[in-house]
């Protein structure tokens, strides 16, 4: 027994003519929230499907909970695919108990555990309803219960926040954090890095099937230094880009994130901004994962990584 929930060693998968995942190695420590991040088509879903043996890897090895992956270890994982799916004509409680049974839990035990989960997510009044009578939001919650009812040690969630309204996102985030506090490991994928970056302890960024960088979120950010300035203002900020020491500007209109060149001092920028704009906020911040990803992929700041 080691302290890794999931270990991937050099896994690869190619489909007719194109390589989806190339020689990917990852380690997911137990009891962490691990984010597998990258743009659409980066190979996130393919990777997760290989962990679940929905797709067989062409190369490489997968270990789950310290043992070579097989159906028994996979049964310890709760998997929520990006495309959610429930049997439309099944009564909710039967559906959930059935799903747990397909993960190896006895019906009796699943029935016992079902009540508290339904209570908690506000589905208790709907347990006798057919799935296609539930609203979209309810179905999302039901899907979550279906994923966790068999008490998995590891949760794999492909784009868990997609399609959720803000309230749904909060419910989901809270439920996930509760599980982590209880010792569960969570692996989630997302292409919207902002939405999940505060949730994750560790991340791996992948692009075109290859790992770009990985590590603890704090380490990743520290490696990129505190050289980003968040600046909110009134006025015309178009001159900022041409100031000395400025490497890159993410322009949001009346708010910009300015990436400084390595070793550059932010003070001249503050002076210049104060002179020419009405500054509402000036803060030196860590770069966002999004920026780190974009820079790493496009080659900027490669030295820093």
């Amino acid at each position: 027994m080691n302290d890794k929930a999931i270990v991937l060693r050099g896994i690869g998968k190619a489909f007719a003519g194109h390589v989806a995942v190339k020689n990917l190695s990852l380690e997911v420590p137990r009891n962490s929230v691990f984010g597998l991040l990258g743009p659409n088509g980066a190979g996130k879903t393919t990777t997760l499907r290989m962990v679940m043996n929905i797709l067989g890897p062409d190369t490489g090895e997968i270990e789950i909970l310290g043992r070579p992956a097989d159906q028994a270890t996979r049964d310890r994982i709760g998997y929520m695919p990006e495309e959610r799916g429930l049997y439309p004509r099944m009564v909710l409680e039967e559906q959930l108990v059935f799903m747990a049974a397909t993960k190896g839990m006895s019906r009796k035990e699943a029935e016992m555990r079902l009540g508290p989960w339904l209570e908690r997510l506000g589905l208790a009044d709907w347990r006798k309803k057919k799935t296609n009578e539930l609203s979209k939001g309810m179905q999302q919650k039901a899907q979550f219960v279906a994923t966790v009812l068999h008490e998995p040690d590891v949760l794999i969630m492909d784009e868990p926040m997609s399609g959720l309204d803000p309230v749904g996102m909060d419910v989901m985030r809270e439920a996930m954090l509760d599980l982590v506090r209880g010792g569960t490991t969570i692996v989630l994928s997302s292409h919207q890095m902002e939405a999940v970056e505060r949730l994750c302890d560790r991340v791996a960024l992948i692009n075109r099937g290859e790992k770009v960088l990985d590590g603890a979120v704090s380490d990743v950010k520290a490696r990129h230094g505190k050289n980003t300035v968040a600046l909110a203002f009134d006025g015309d900020g178009s001159f900022i880009e041409s100031l000395p020491g400025v490497a890159k500007v993410s322009d949001h209109g009346q708010y910009v994130e300015v990436r400084l060149e390595d070793g550059a001092d932010p003070q001249p920028l503050l002076r210049e901004a104060a002179a020419r704009l009405r500054v509402r906020r000036f803060e030196i911040v860590e770069p966002s994962l999004h920026d780190i990803f974009v820079e790493t992929v496009t080659g900027h700041g490669k030295e820093a990584a």
């Binding site: 499907r49 929905i54 996979r74 998997y79 959610r84 059935f98 799903m99 397909t102 993960k103 006895s106």
Partner: protein, 430 residues
């Protein structure tokens, strides 16, 4: 059976059995079958009230004889005609004198009037030369009651023939005894004993054949739609994370097949009940077809094997497409063997031991129907039954192997419908 497979089988079974369609089909099936058996039996017995008829005899010589014969004519042991007597001949001599056209015309008009008024169902018009020409006409409001008209035709014909025989100096009764025709009864010999077969067994076996054919296709297509539904609702990826595609496929086939068997069980129990209930009131008048245990066993066996064969193919097709519409063009080639079997069955019925019947009862896709038919109409040698089943089982294993491979790839494929060469590639690479 592993717990997971059992969970899938249970789900599939309950989902089929709880649909309205299943409940309706299960209840209506025996009702329809019962109706098919009872209605003709009752219709034959209680063919309405006797017909009120009259005789218009223009020859003046046949009236009493024809009237008497019609009164005595029986169908199913009961008189069929209520004869309204015509005007009695004035005297014995006058009897041979043809009725004058005026008198005949007047009586004809009166008869037509009573028919139209509903006092009479119809009348027979015998022309003057009826005995020699053998011509006569029937006028009535309803002339489509073939059985009654056939009885009338035979009765009047007998009177005319007797008259001719008598005219030729022969004794009609003696001639009738001498020319008595052969009455060939057919008796089917089987292990169950001897039994007179009045064609009911043949009809019954054809009904069973139709049910078998329809059931294999119906339940097979049920698998097709359910696979497509799993793809459309995207639940299949959730399932694939817990159970292998083989378990999923096996569970689906077993669950749906069990639902089909359940329906047959309900059907045969109610059929049994109906036949018990009918045995009392209808004893004798209606021949209950003989159902041997071998027939029942082979019906269930060939349904299950045939279902597995076709359902596995349907599952493969369902996994390869996105909608039922897309499935149609791929599904047709799959149905070819069973359709061919339906085309060939009359030939197999004609010569159940002929080379054609023996050959096609060995071909996996066709044997479920043709071997079953052969078992019903005559009992083929055991080795033939055994070989047919063995080949069918081998066929099923092969089909399952191919289907499982297509299924494994197909359930996660969305988008363009694959072509046959692409499907072959899936089979090779899966």
């Amino acid at each position: 059976m592993s717990a997971k497979l059992w969970a899938v089988v249970r789900r599939e079974y309950l989902e089929r059995v709880r649909t309205k369609g299943f409940v309706i089909g299960t209840v209506l099936g025996p009702l329809l079958m019962g109706a098919m058996m009872i209605i003709p039996a009752f219709a034959a017995r209680a063919g309405g009230k006797p017909l009120k008829v009259a005789v218009l005899d223009r020859s003046g010589a046949l009236q009493p004889a024809v009237e008497a014969a019609l009164r005595e004519a029986l169908f199913d042991g009961k008189p069929r005609f209520e004869v309204q007597a015509g005007p009695a001949p004035a005297s014995a001599e006058a009897a041979a004198v043809p009725v004058g056209p005026a008198a005949a015309g007047a009586r004809e008009a009166a008869l037509k009037k009573s028919v139209l008024e509903g006092n009479l169902d119809g009348y027979v018009d015998l022309p003057g030369d009826a005995v020699t020409s053998g011509n006569a006409s029937y006028y009535g409001r309803n002339v489509s009651n073939r059985i009654d008209l056939r009885t009338m035709e035979r009765t009047v014909s007998d009177v005319l023939v007797s008259r001719r025989l008598a005219d030729a100096g022969l004794d009609p009764a003696k001639v009738k005894t001498l020319t008595k025709e052969l009455d060939l009864k057919t008796i089917r010999l089987s292990e169950g004993g001897e039994r007179e077969d009045r064609g009911a067994a043949l009809i019954f076996s054809l009904i069973l054949l139709m049910i078998l054919y329809a059931s294999i296709l119906m339940w097979g297509q049920m698998v097709l739609t359910s696979v497509i539904e799993e793809k459309t609702s995207r639940v299949v990826e959730v399932m694939a994370a817990g159970v292998s595609s083989t378990t999923l496929l096996a569970g689906k086939l077993l669950g749906v097949g069990a639902a089909g068997l359940t329906q047959f069980l309900v059907w045969s129990l109610s059929l049994f009940g109906v036949s018990l209930a009918m045995a009392g009131p209808l004893a004798g008048s209606f021949p209950m077809p003989e159902i041997t245990p071998l027939m029942l066993v082979s019906f269930v066996l060939f349904f299950l094997l045939g279902f597995l064969f076709y359902a596995a193919l349907y599952a493969a097709i369902g996994s390869a497409v996105n909608t039922v519409q897309e499935a149609q063009s791929l599904a047709f080639p799959v149905m070819v063997p069973i359709i061919l079997a339906m085309v060939c069955f009359p030939a197999a019925l004609e010569a159940p031991d002929g080379a054609l019947a023996v050959t096609i009862s060995m071909i996996p896709g066709m044997s479920p129907l043709i071997m079953f038919l052969r078992i019903v109409v005559l009992t083929p040698p055991l080795w033939q039954i055994g070989l047919s089943i063995l080949l069918l089982v081998l066929g099923i294993v092969g089909v399952l192997w191919v289907a499982a491979r297509i299924y494994r790839v197909g359930i996660l494929m969305y988008g363009k419908k694959p072509t046959f060469p692409e499907l072959l590639k899936w089979v090779r690479h899966a």
